[in-house]
């Protein structure tokens, strides 16, 4: 198990994770990073038609080892 930190940018507010998560497998890191994105979107939408949600996963050395991004693009066609 290693400690990973999930820094989140929901398009308005950036949150730096100072607590971290104990995770064992790379798949757990991937799952944790991706599954938080729709939760961020659910809480924030529909404030605007364009918004990007991003999570950077840092290891204990400070290296960003994984990044997941969710982008909303909505527009009127007429």
């Amino acid at each position: 198990m290693s400690l990973y930190f999930f820094d989140i940018d929901d398009g308005e507010v950036e949150t730096r994770d100072s607590t971290g998560q104990e995770l064992a497998r790379s798949e757990d890191i991937r799952w944790s990073a991706i599954s938080v994105l729709p939760e961020l979107a659910k809480d924030a939408l529909p404030d605007s038609d364009k918004r990007t949600f991003r999570v950077n996963v840092r290891d204990e050395a400070g290296t960003v080892v994984y990044r997941a991004t969710l982008t909303l693009v909505a527009e009127w066609l007429q």
Partner: protein, 237 residues
């Protein structure tokens, strides 16, 4: 001094001296259970009824992929499985989140007490109905509330439930839950739960220290959470 059970029951029914004496006899012997222990598991058919005396427990279910959902928190004075004797088997599990004291008694003892002491029976029905009301409110929170309001709403509820059993001191109460347990209670990921916790802390509405939650201004947190406490039915006493 009244115990937590008498306080809980007393909200639903006026208890007289005989009722309180009967409850005192009922609340023995007390078993001490460490944190992280299953008090009862899904599928069990035992006819033993358990009552929380101190500590903290949770009703939960596990999904096939290993994820867990916590559907209820059990505080002192709450029953773990009041109706297991009626339903036949447990359809979910109950585990301790903190070291807890629990009383175990037989379904027949409960039935006998409810038959002979109508005030206690009424109080137990009240507890049961309020439990259902809390479940309905959690459904609303999970389905419709933003995670920060949902978490704030949850803290407001626990504040009032702790206050009912005189477990609130200096605007704070013990809630020794891990980040994962809180996430499983709210139905969100631990990463999101942590972020929401940080935002509530930064707003100054909630403080956390050594397993205790402090709410300096309850009305501010209630306003933010859009909390309406009618579902706890605290007015009737």
């Amino acid at each position: 001094m009244k115990n937590a059970t008498a306080k809980r029951l007393g909200h639903g029914a006026a208890l007289n001296r005989e009722d309180l004496a009967r409850l005192d006899r009922f609340l023995h012997p007390v078993r001490r259970v460490p944190a992280g222990t299953d008090l009862i598991q899904r599928g069990e058919t035992v006819s033993c009824v358990r009552l929380m005396i101190s500590g903290l427990s949770a009703r939960y279910k596990l999904l096939p992929d290993g994820r867990r959902s916590i559907m209820a928190l059990l505080l002192p004075g709450d029953f773990c499985d009041l109706h297991v004797g009626v339903l036949g088997h447990m359809d979910h599990s109950v585990m301790t989140l903190a070291e807890s004291e629990v009383v175990e008694t037989s379904q027949s003892d409960i039935d006998g007490m409810m038959g002979a002491f109508p005030n206690i029976a009424r109080g137990m029905r009240w507890i049961d109905m309020v439990d259902q009301s809390i479940t309905r409110e959690w459904l609303v929170s999970m389905g419709r509330r933003r995670a920060d309001r949902q978490m704030a709403h949850f803290f407001c509820e626990i504040y009032h439930r702790m206050d009912m059993i005189d477990e609130v001191g200096s605007n704070s109460f013990a809630l020794p839950m891990t980040q994962e347990e809180l996430a499983d209670t709210l139905g969100i990921t631990p990463v999101h739960a942590l972020r929401v916790l940080q935002s509530l802390r930064q707003s100054g509405m909630v403080q956390f220290q050594d397993g205790r939650i402090s709410i300096p201004k309850l009305d501010s947190l209630e306003t933010f959470a859009e909390f309406e406490g009618d579902y706890l039915h605290l007015g009737r006493s």
